[in-house]
Structure formats: C-alpha cells, structure tokens
Point group: C2
Chain length 642, copies 2
C-alpha cells in the first residue's frame, strides 16, 4: 500500500487514552519517515487506511509476562492490526513503520501478513545515571528509541559511588548531599514512568547496595562501615566504602527508604544491585569482624549474603520482588528473587537451576564498545544455558543491554546506545534461528536512520568534529574518524593516561566516533570478498583503491587542522598511521593485481608498521588495520592465478 496524505487510522475494540496517544505518535513518526504531512488528525471508527483492533486492556501496572502479540496484515490498499492488548498494538505500529520504504511510485508498505510475538518477555536497556547523570529529556528520547525496537524494560541504575539521583522526601540528604545537584525530582520520575508506560516500557529502579554506595554516605555516614566523612566520588573504578550490614539501624534506614521508593516506582521489581563488594571496609572494622565471628560468617561474601537475606523481606514487605546481580544468588533467598547475570550463561543457568527467574546482561555491555554483531550472537539460551530443562528454561526471562555511565554524558550517550541496542533487541524478540549477521547489519542501518527521525541524537559525530576543528569543512577529519573506533573493553583511560574521573570533558575524538565504524566494516567486508574471490573483481578493486588512496593522502590535508585545536593534536599519530596503512594497502593491491608475490622484506616492513599502527592511541584504534594486514599477508603469499 502507498502512504499518502490521506492516510488514516481507525481504532476499534478496547479503547483507552494511551492508544489514542500511540496513534498520534505513530502519525508523527510516519510523517517524519515520509516527509508527508498527514491530513487527518483524529483516529476514526471505520473506513480507515489502517484499522486497529485491540481486544482488551493490559495490566494496570505492566507485568513481566503479558501478551504482547499482534497480527499485522497489509494489502494493496489497506492494513489491519490486531492485538490482544495495547502492548501488541504498540509493537505492531512500530513494525508497520519499519516496513515503510521508498519506491519508484512513492512511499510504500509491501503486502505482508505478520503474526508476531516476542521470544522473551524481559527485553531491557540499563542506563547508568549514577556515574554520569542523564537529564529527563535524554531518558525520554531513549524511551522513544526503545519503543521503536520493542524493548520493554528500562532499568535505571540510580545510585553509585559517584551520585545518588533520586529525590527522597523521607531521607532528603541522599540527593541533597549525594547528587551535586543532579537528580530526578519525584515529579520528573512520575513523568518518566508515565512516558514509559505509554510506550509499553516498564521502569525498574536499581539502588546498588551494600557496595557502590559512597554517595549515600555523604549525607548519612552512619549507614557506612567506616565513620567517614564521605564525599561524592569522582574517580571511576571499584572502591571500598560499603554499608554496615551488622547494625539494625541500617535496616531501619533501608526500610524507610525502600518504602518510599516502592510507592514512587510502580513496577513489581526492585533491584538492589549487590555487585562488587570488595569487603575491605568490613575487614577494617573490628566491630564488624566481631559480628561476623559471632554469626559464623566466614568472609565478606557470607556477610553480603546475610545482608541480602535481611534485605529481601523488607523489599517484599513493600510489595516488591527483589532483583540483584549474580552475587546475590544464595540458597537462603526465596525463589522469586530475580538474578541478573553479568557473568555469563553459566551463571544465568545456575540461577535458573536454583529456581530463580534470571535475566542475561553478560554479552550485552554496550560500554565495552564491541560491534553489534558480537552482541547479536549472544543468546540467553545458548552456551551454559543450553542444557537447561524446559522448566528451567522457562525461568530465563530475557536480557538487558547495559549502558554503564563511566564515559557517556547527555551529548554522547545516544551514540553509544544506538543503533547497537537494536541488535540486542532483535536477539531478545526474534526466534533464535534468525542469526545472519550481514542481514542484521542491513536492518540496523535502516533502524539507525529511522531512529534519527524519531529524535535520537546518535548521529552526533559530524557536529562534534566541527566543534573540535572550529571550522565547518571537516571532510578530511571525517575520513580519519571513519577509520577509527574507541578502544574496547575497559582500556579507556583519562587524558594523558592519568586516571579518568567523572569530571573529565567527554568531547574528544574518542567520544565523537561511534563504537562501531560502518565504513570500516564495509572496507573489511570488501577486502575479504576480494581475497576470497577466484577471479579479479575490478569494481571491488577500484572501490578499495579509491579508499586507500584517500587514506594515503588524508594526513596531508588534515595536518593544518590538527595543529590548531587542542582536541585534535592527539589525533596526529593516528592520521599518520592511516596514511601509512593506505600506502601499504595500495602496494598490496598492486602486488595482488600483478599476481607476483610481494618480497618478504616488504612484508616484514609492512607488518611492523601495521603492528605499530594497531596500538591504541588517544584511546582510539585504527579499526581498518586488520583488514589492511590481511591484504598485505595475501600479497606476500604464493598466489594462484587471479
């Protein structure tokens, strides 16, 4: 069917204001995707281009397992969307939007029949606002992105060493002294929660305890194992301070706090963190050591389990189900406690075997700067979880992509979450057989374009490059940037190699380049295709040659720019390396085309250069280096007739 300005939407069956708002949002998105201002504003009862039927209401507070299924049928002239609940309607509308494409006659949606439902009921995104605060508008636009890819849980990591981000009326010093002025008011949180509900997204709050909690102690040092005083942590890492699990006053405090938060956050789940307690604060405290002895607790892990076992009834008393990271797993906790695994499917399976519902985050850490394909390949039911019984598999609720906040702020977080989170979203929604990576990248490309129309700010690179350069023409800088990716894992350090803090400006080249370079991926793909081919492929050769020539000549173009800006000076070695890689690649191409193996001395020289060029500089990697290396190796190998 064609999308024209007379496109209209009809609603039948169960009605609620949320559905009307969803239709309005859908119309706005459809208008963005086509550039067509749609004529009709209100949903109509009948005769619409797209007819939506919703059977019944969903739960008043969205539950972890609800019917999210829908059926979408598109014909030549009309479309019909049927769903059991508004959740299915929301998802079906997003599918419709994803089907819109430009054609020779106009914007069209192909005729299609889709019966769709998620594989997992828990499809989440964790945003850590503890280390770097994210304003409401940032959270809301990420909720918009989540809606587009059918993620249904926003897990807010609301407190950590570096900040406590929620207004508490009962214990006001938590945010007054622990947030440096950066927190959500309760009114803002209610707005955010309603915003999420409108989009079929639950909001699960996490308050990390007993570790990761320095920010609590600034206002309430008596909660801590050591007397203090404390100040908000600016460094990044794992630190010693921890709550004192041996005092009754700690539990009275947490009872009051959790009571207030349980009323504020309607979701059934309450995440208590529970990860990474190094135990030092406990080991140094004689009173705590005495308590451990008298309670037969053999070490910090035991004491933390004691804490969790004390905490769980408090959480339950306030009507919530407790959730925590792997470390909380413990036979003394009731079965309903949800385990979130950052350790792997083995740990996930362990939780399921112990009758706990479990959610996988291992493999989905977006802050590690891995390519989308790597996350896409991680399956909650695979590896260590593959041998679970059907009953145990039922307990695997799904997964959560995690955006830890060490190196993101309002300006850059979208580019670290999107579009890669969409690959995780697909893994959690689609059948496990859908695994083709190249096909995934095509969809990711389309989703990324779609998201930028929906308000996500993930395509910020050019604007940041212009700011670094102080000029508008950044063509040469873009050539360099497209060959780079941020360092992976936890390799990033602060400027000049000093220890990073939350106060460092995140305005450097490493912040501007996306975690995954799509042009670099395409370059590598073309190199591999060229090397795998039996016959010469002049088109691919000329594409590679053009790119390599651009790299070779780029440093000269870029050099005047680099010298003028303190933010670009650190890029100079990278730019030189890229030029060398361009030269090496061109020479390799020549050898390959001539069909005579390159001399060994040349190969040695190039590999030494590539090794040097592959070392991280300014927290960046020249990500095209391995593909150039493959070219060089191939050029120096004995060749078959090409």
């Amino acid at each position: 069917m064609s999308i024209t300005r007379t496109f209209s939407v009809g609603l039948s069956g169960h009605r609620e204001p949320r559905l009307q708002r969803a239709v309005n949002r859908f119309r706005g998105r459809l208008s963005s995707l086509t550039g067509i201002s749609l004529a009709e504003a209100e949903p109509r009862a009948s005769g619409a281009t797209l007819s939506i039927h919703c059977d019944r209401a969903s739960a008043a507070v969205q539950a972890a397992r609800e019917d999210e299924s829908y059926t979408l049928e598109v014909t030549d002239s009309t479309a019909r969307l049927d769903a059991a609940t508004p959740l299915g309607v929301l998802h079906g509308l997003q599918t419709f939007l994803q089907l819109v494409q430009v054609g020779t006659q106009g914007f069209v949606v192909p005729a299609i029949l889709i019966r769709d439902q998620p594989r997992f009921p828990w499809r989440g995104l964790l945003i850590d606002v503890g280390r770097h605060f994210e304003p409401v508008r940032v959270i809301e636009r990420n909720l918009d992105g989540m809606e587009a890819v059918k993620l249904n849980v926003l897990h807010l990591h609301l407190s950590d060493y570096q900040g406590f981000r929620v207004e508490s009326k009962v214990l006001p010093k938590l945010y007054q002294m622990g947030s440096e002025g950066q927190y959500y008011s309760q009114a803002e949180l209610r707005e955010m929660i309603a915003y999420g509900r409108d989009r079929g997204i639950r909001i699960v709050p996490e308050f990390d305890m007993p570790g990761h909690s320095t920010s609590w102690f600034v206002g309430y040092p008596k909660l801590a194992s050591e007397p203090g005083p404390y100040s908000v942590e600016h460094k990044l890492g794992v630190f010693d301070p921890a709550m004192d699990p041996t005092r009754e006053s700690t539990y009275a405090f947490l009872d009051a706090f959790i009571g207030e938060m349980a009323a504020l956050f309607p979701d059934r789940y309450f995440h208590i963190g529970g990860d990474e307690v190094n135990g030092k604060a406990w080991e140094q405290n004689r009173q705590i050591q005495g308590f451990m002895k008298s309670h037969h607790l053999k070490g910090s892990a035991d004491l933390q389990q004691y804490f969790n076992v004390r905490l769980q009834p408090i959480v339950r008393k306030h009507g919530k189900i407790m959730m925590g990271w792997d470390e909380v797993l413990n036979p003394r906790l009731p079965d309903d406690v949800v385990i979130q695994s950052w350790r792997g499917q083995e740990s996930l399976a362990d939780a399921a075997r112990h009758r706990h519902p479990a959610v996988l985050s291992y493999g989905y850490y977006l802050d590690l700067m891995y390519p989308a394909a790597r996350h896409y390949e991680v399956d909650p039911m695979a590896d260590g979880a593959a041998n679970l019984s059907p009953e145990e598999k039922q307990r695997i609720l799904g997964g959560e992509a995690c955006m830890w906040g060490e190196f993101v702020w309002s300006e850059t977080i979208d580019s670290r979450v999107w579009p890669r989170a969409a690959a995780v979203a697909e893994r959690l929604w689609s059948p496990p057989e859908v695994r083709d990576v190249l096909s995934m990248y095509q969809r990711l490309d389309a989703v990324s374009r779609e998201l930028s129309w929906f308000g996500l700010q993930h395509r910020v690179t050019d604007e940041m490059l212009r700011r670094m350069a102080g000029v508008d023409d950044i063509a040469a800088l873009r050539v360099l940037a497209e060959a780079l990716e941020p360092v992976k894992e936890y390799d990033r350090a602060g400027p000049g190699g000093a220890e990073a803090t939350t106060q460092d400006a995140l305005n450097r080249l490493v912040d501007a380049v996306p975690p995954e370079s799509e042009p670099a991926r395409q370059f590598a793909e073309a190199v591999d295709a060229l090397l795998a081919a039996k016959f010469r492929d002049p088109e691919k050769e000329s594409y590679l040659r053009a790119l390599l020539e651009r790299w070779r000549g780029n440093d000269q173009k870029l050099e005047p720019l680099l010298g003028r800006s303190f933010l670009l000076q650190e890029a100079a070695p990278l730019s030189q390396d890229l030029a060398s890689l361009g030269s090496a690649g061109l020479q390799a191409l020549d050898y390959l085309v001539q069909g005579e193996g390159a001399p060994e001395t040349w190969r040695q020289q190039q590999l030494a250069m590539i090794e040097q060029a592959s070392r991280p500089k300014a927290n960046l990697l020249i990500i095209v280096a391995p593909a150039v290396q493959r070219l060089v190796e191939a050029a120096a190998s004995p060749q078959e007739g090409r």
Copy 2:
C-alpha cells in the same frame, strides 16, 4: 580566558528571574559549544569567572525603543558584562558565546573590550504560519536562534487565505473552521510570548485584512464581500475574496476580535496586513459599488484606505499602534501608524517623509532563496532612503527578514531561515560600514555551527537525502546536492509543473538542499581567484580538478540510486548535467594550464551545453554552472603568459 568546568557566573545589580534563566540558558549553550559539563549550577554573588552587572529593569512590556547596550570586557582570566537593562545582558551573553573558540590549549575567549549597541531598534523575523502551520516547538527553537543573533521582533503572520491560526474564544469559528485543526491555543500563545520575552524578543501579531482572509470567511461568510460559502484555500497565490468594508457589521466584528487579540498579545503594535487586495470581490458586488459611489471612492485602493481609516481607531481603542504593509500608507492615517515596506527603500522613505515610523522588508525575503550576501547588502538607510533628513531617518526603525510560508513546513523551515537570517540580523545591528562579504560568510559559517548546537534543525539535508534514497550511504547524492540550489524568486511550481498547493509534500530534493550552497560558493570563489591570478596556482588548480573530476564521475555512481526512488527520479537530468559540467570544466582547466586558447567550436559546444544545464529542472538550479562557464570562456580567450 579559558573555559573550564569551573567556569562560574555572578549576578549583581538589578535582579529578576529572567536573568537567572538567561544565565542557566547561557551555561547550557556554553556547555554545548565546548562539550564541557560545567560544575556550578547557580549564579553566585562574587568571585565569578564571568561577572554580570545589570543596572535596572527594562519595560514591563518590551518597547520598540529600549536601551539594549552592553559592555563586555574579557581579560586573561575573567570577564565582565555590564548592561543598563536585562536586554543588554541577554545580548552580551550571546556575544560572549560567539567569541568562544577552540585553541591549542583549550576552548578560549580572547581578551577583548566591546561596547556594543544596535544600529536599529527593530530587528525582526517574520514567520508566516498562515500558509503552512508551524508547531510551537518550531517557533520556540526559532526564538532560540533569534536570541543568538540578537533579533528582537518575531512577527507572526497568523492568518491568510490558507489558514487562521489563533484560538478565539469570542469568535470560535475562526479557528474551528478556518484552521483545519492547525492553530495555537491561547495558552500556547501565552507560553510563546513568555518564551520570547525571556529572550528579549517581542511578538507582533499580524492578522491580514481586508484581503488574504479567505480562512476567516469559512466560519463567518457574512464578513466577506460575496456570500460564499467559503472553504480554506489550498492553492497558493493571490485570490479575490476580501472583507466587506462597507458594512458596519464588519467593524463590529473586528472590534470584538481585535479587543480579544489586544488582550492576548501584550505588544504595543498590532499588524493589520493590508497588502495585495485585488479588488475583484468589490467590483463584482453591486452594493459595494454603490457605497463607493456615494462615498466618492474612486477605486479599490480608495475603498481599502477607507477600511484602514475605519480600522485604525478600533486598533487604537484597544491600546495598540496599528502597523501595515506599504499599501496602507495614506494621509488620513495618524502619524504613529507603522509602515512595513515590501516595495523598497523608496517606499520606506516615503513613509518616513509622511512622519510614519517604518520598517524595511524589501530585500529581506528569505523565501526567494537568494544568497545571504544579497540580503546582507540591503541597507534600510541606503538607496531611496539615503537622502532623508536626520529627523526622517530617525523614523526608520529597522527591518524584518521574511519567511513566507508557501514552501516550508516544520521539517524544512529552519533550513530556509538559518543561517541567512543571521546576515540580516548583522545588517540591522552593526554599523553600516561593516560590509565585507567574505568576512560575513566566515561569521555566518560559525553562527550556523553554533545554531545547530542550540537546537536549530537547519542542517537537515543529509537526513532528507537518506530518506529519499532509502539507504545510508548518500555520498554521491551529497555531491550532487552540493552543486544545486532551489530556483529563485517565485519560480517554484508544484510537482510535474502543476500549480502548487499547501497539500503537496515538501520532501523533494528542492526541499532538502539549502537555499545557498556553501561548497558552490567556494568553488566559484576559487575559479575567480584562479582566473584573476597572474601566476599559476597549483594548489587551487588541484582543488578545482578534484572537484570537477568528482562531478564528472558522479552520475555513474548515482544512477542506480536515482532509479529506485520516486523522489530521486527527477534528479537524473541534473546529475547528467553535472557530469557534463565537470567534463567541460576539466577540459577548460587543461586548456588554461597548457596556455593555448581553446578552439572556438569547442567553446560553442560547451556554452550550448552550459545553457541547457543552466535551465531549472525539478525546481533546482545547478548553481555551479556560471563558474564553469567562466572557466570555459577564459579557456577560449587569448591568454597572457600563465
């Protein structure tokens, strides 16, 4: 001075909440421009990096002539901003932001002392929301842009044939039947007005009458000269319907309406339009003809003057000063009526000689798609106004850039307003001697970058190209787009040459390319420099050669893309023409370099091709064609030793 995260702001002297909000906004903008998250949130009393002193309050309702001056002094470590009123503070803060630049040591503001005040008190931007409605968020982000460049009047053209855009509680059928659901509620208008006041910007409402008023008649046909019925006009152009100036009921209606609007819009000025009445509705109405005879009115112009003379006391009764376009000028109107001239400085001067305050819009019509330089060169005091007496010159209040709404909507309006409106803003603020065009373009470039950090959506081209192409890699399409500009003046017609309407989608290539191509301007500049130079300039030659080669080869790259999208098919001839221009330019370069004049037959062939390529296609011009033509002409001329 350096901008670091400890940058702080102090306020002294006159205080008001608007100043606090201005400082918060300033901090946000400074953070955007540097990528540095500033530590301190609240203005402090003393010891700040930037100390602001404000002498006194400005008027409760911003007046047309207020003290907007400020003094900004920046030293190595601190800055001081002094202003008589909050208006000067607002302007000084924007100047500070414009001074921020990236350097070798960090983001810096150079040491400087600026004593600044505007040349004209009325520096406006007209936005026509009658023809295409613009949502509140669009108006607000344009107010943000206006603040950045110190424009101080937003003139809202609120009604026209195609729509009536304001809620009226007294005469509700105006918006209920005249807006097709696209109007501002009174609450939204109050919000917009407060938003403007916060930024030192007055909002002047215009309700165009007695012509340009079809939308009024849909709900109130008795107001019209002919019985109707009427419907909202979708075509663009000048139409016959006009109010009936001969009936007392018309004035009673307008009295009630203006009374309500006068209370809603606090500004002292009320714009009644008054332009382009073709008189046909009056000529066809026997009763009106009789009225004209009995009142000795010789033609439509006389009748319109009668209308204006009747209208003015009504406007005054409600506490407002009447304002209108050139046509309203008439000896029987009191001196305070403000004339806005779309006809030229002669007409402007005429108004001033007749003791009327006057505002120039001739030369500032942004919808004509002229380059910034052309608007920049227009001076309200020049040409026809140059010979005014000092007293008469005092009456020239300033000017207004006009964004008429035939071919813009929420997605594209920013790219039609910005950055060109900044050139008009500078003309109206700075001394007349500041006229260097190349220097202006450098500032425009910087302002454009700045505006995109402040939320303006004027750099939308790439996203629109991706939507047209349906793919992410639009490099070749961008090469074409950068060589194009929309047709100028009123040459734009609808798709397929049919008459354009407000219902046409504005998602075509002509909508995506900016009114002025900066790369094309630079190409032309390089061509002219090359041709003017006495000696060969290898660097310029190679820059031109690279560009021309890219054009020559681009059509082949683009062709597969163009065939797939209905929105790109119309670009195929342009792409072919660009390839031909690239070839011609390269050949011309060769002749020039070889120093032998090109043969006449070659010259003839190329000029014929260029003539063909210069014709508008798909409402677009290949704007690089004239510079290629200069190359060709030069190549064929007898040459001095180069």
